[in-house]
């Protein structure tokens, strides 16, 4: 019995040690990739606007997971904050703009379907060609273990070499924000003029 236990724990140790890094990476890769792909399909097929947005959220989450697997942690976290967090606003827009019935559905016309499919087909072909032209050679230029993308280098690049594009895009965002605030503000509600004392007393007489 003791020998058996010893054997089991030994073999377990060996199996677990072998299965450690590479298999985990592979399993996680397929998990995140299939999650992204399945959610993307769900997004396209779903007719409910909120469900569509939720599917988009899961697609973006899967991509963030892939970034983590590639050790691009900063990119992954930014993906979570900007894209996955931003989907929230999409949901709210979807809900508030289609608030006539709680479960309003997409009912695309035939023309819309044809246009959408053709645009998607063109984009897909372009993507395939781009991948084909710049096919990376997998596995040859693997980065050394432990090499990470330091965030401070990224910051120095943004505020050094790429300062002008960075500042320009910030100004653009600021302009958009101010414009949105201006549009949202709209016209002021005009407060009813305060009644004078004489009017008040007249009102009081009328009501009493």
């Amino acid at each position: 019995m003791r020998l058996f236990l010893q054997l089991t724990t030994d073999s377990m140790t060996v199996i677990l040690a072998q299965t450690s890094t590479e298999l985990t990476t592979a399993v996680l890769f397929y998990l995140f990739a299939s999650m992204s792909a399945a959610a993307a399909v769900w997004m396209v097929l779903s007719r409910n606007i909120v469900r569509t947005a939720v599917a988009l959220l899961f697609t973006l989450l899967g991509v963030a997971g892939l970034y983590f697997l590639l050790d691009a942690e900063f990119l992954a976290a930014v993906q979570l904050v900007v894209y996955a967090g931003g989907t929230l606003i999409l949901i709210i827009f979807g809900v508030m703009l289609t608030s006539k019935s709680p479960y309003s559905k997409f009912e695309p016309k035939l023309v819309e379907v044809i246009v959408a499919v053709s645009v998607a087909a063109v984009l897909f072909v372009a993507l395939l060609m781009a991948i084909n032209n710049s096919m990376p050679t997998f596995g040859t230029d693997a980065q050394p273990a432990g090499a990470r993308y330091p965030v401070d280098l990224l910051g120095q690049a943004l505020l050094g070499d790429y300062l002008v594009p960075f500042e320009l895009s910030s100004v653009l965002l600021l302009v958009v924000m101010i414009g949105a605030a201006y549009l949202a503000k709209g016209r002021k509600h005009e407060a009813p003029p305060a009644l004078t004392t004489s009017e008040l007393s007249r009102q009081a007489k009328r009501w009493s």
Partner: protein, 476 residues
């Protein structure tokens, strides 16, 4: 198996940390009820077990036995997905909390018969660990006694490595937590929407508006600390607070950044959706807010997520402002508590006990912050929605921008020169930051006098009988 856990320490840390956090949640609910009763001059739950200590178990059993109700017209998929999403997100965010610094281990491994002894030794270093120096390889000749081999020849390798005493050490830890916790709102929004109940949905919309507003000051106040230390790694931020000013005051950020700390505390209150920021559930107006239609374990998941989220955000607060695992003054008596291995990096320790003591200290501080949450909840009334928005947009965001400016200037003029990796807040910089804090506070008080009064949100209807019309009293 023991060897496996030695080489994968994060697995056991993950199991223990998650178990501990989720177990603590149950007792936090008891603490909440006890705190409520103390505030309201009651006794609180005291029937199940001594001092009501078994109450959480009774609560859990009750949750399991309740009917799992789902409204007929609810969106079936999203209704179930919402609580799951919320709890998953909160559980993931526990991963980067720096519980106990770094543990340095020296192991002797038998590598007899391996072709490359060095590589064989290195393969035993955990994947999350970093090797210190080169492995020492030792040949032990066979001992023979009268031609008979007593012990065969062996090759021993001594390898030293350190691994972080946390589940995952990310170099962007703070950003990760902010990003992941910002997803918790999806649970609220989807739950509220999928219930197909107008009260639930109103709660969800309120939660969204609140979240969008309070994420900004939260991020900005975290950014102040990040700029001070030049790192996004929570473990490093903790490690750089482990020193003293004038050998007495611990170099915690709460002393150099009190305004930032207060803003962070307010924002994590808003993030947790708790009173005085609980407009999303607001019993008096919205029945139960986003979880009106939830019962049984689905509701329990929402509850669990709220408390586990409190633990995470409080732990981040402790790591950012209260020196994480640092136990002040005790390490003067027992220096091993703060390093002893590498004078430039006090987080490294060779003792597992020290790691566990640090974890305990970290957790105790976290619970202390959580107690503030409960204290506030049962002491302050709820905000009105316009007050909530005004606090964020007219107070917290401008102040956090001002604090960011002050911190940047101080770091620029007083930041430690030289090796960035060991940057700490020196005495001069601390004084400059305190002056900056006072200046921001004084400036805020001065400017707030000059600002136009907040717009009147409740339009005063000046008709007779209205409480805004004084003449009605006279006329009546």
């Amino acid at each position: 198996m023991i060897e496996f856990f030695q080489e994968h320490p994060w697995i056991i840390i993950a199991l223990v940390a998650h178990g501990a956090v989720l177990g603590t949640v149950a007792y936090l609910i008891l603490l909440e009820r006890k705190t409520a009763s103390w505030v309201q001059d009651r006794i609180g739950p005291n029937r199940v077990g001594p001092w009501g200590l078994l109450q959480p178990i009774a609560d859990g059993l009750k949750f399991i036995l309740k009917e799992d109700y789902r409204p007929a017209s609810a969106d079936k998929v999203l209704f179930s997905l919402a609580p799951c999403l919320m709890i998953i997100v909160i559980i993931i965010s526990i991963a980067v909390l720096p519980w106990g610094g770094e543990h340095q281990v020296t192991r002797t491994i038998d590598v007899t018969g391996q072709t490359d002894a060095r590589l064989a030794a290195i393969s035993h270093v955990p994947s999350v660990g970093v090797m210190v120096g080169e492995p020492k390889i030792e040949q032990i000749a066979a001992t023979t006694d009268a031609g008979e081999v007593m012990a065969p020849a062996r090759t021993l390798a001594t390898v030293t490595y350190r691994y972080p005493f946390q589940i995952a050490k990310l170099n962007i830890g703070v950003l990760f937590i902010l990003g992941v916790l910002s997803l918790a709102i999806y649970g609220v929004v989807l739950g509220g929407w999928a219930s197909n109940n107008k009260f639930s949905f109103l709660g969800a919309l309120r939660a969204t508006a609140q979240m969008v507003s309070y994420e900004i000051p939260l991020g900005l106040s975290v950014l102040c600390i990040v700029i001070m230390f030049g790192t996004l790694d929570l473990g490093e931020i903790v490690e750089k607070q482990v020193s003293y000013w004038g050998h007495v005051i611990p170099a915690w950020n709460v002393f150099t950044q009190p305004i930032t700390f207060l803003m962070f505390l307010i924002c994590i209150h808003a993030e947790a959706n708790r009173a005085p920021f609980d407009l999303a559930e607001c019993e008096q107006e919205l029945v139960g807010g986003y979880h009106t239609e939830y019962s049984s374990m689905r509701f329990a998941l929402f509850f669990l997520a709220e408390y586990a989220g409190m633990i995470t955000t409080s732990a981040v607060c402790v790591a950012l402002f209260f020196g994480g695992w640092h136990i002040p003054w005790l390490d003067k008596i027992w220096p091993a508590l703060s390093g002893g291995v590498d004078p430039t990096n006090p987080s490294i320790t060779t003792s597992l006990t020290v790691c566990l003591i640090r974890t305990f200290a970290f957790f105790t501080k976290t619970v202390a912050i959580i107690f503030i949450f409960m204290w506030v909840r049962w002491s302050l009334p709820r905000f009105r929605f316009d007050q909530l928005m005004m606090l964020a947009w007219r107070a917290l965001i401008p102040m956090s921008l001002a604090m960011l400016m002050v911190t940047t200037l101080v770091v620029y003029y007083f930041g430690t020169e030289g090796n960035r990796a060991y940057m700490r807040v020196g005495g001069k910089m601390a004084v400059a930051l305190m002056i900056g804090n006072v200046a921001v506070l004084a400036g805020t008080m001065f400017i707030s006098k000059l600002l136009p009064a907040p717009p009147e949100t409740n339009r005063r209807v000046r008709v007779i009988g209205s409480r805004f019309n004084r003449t009605s009293v006279a006329a009546g």
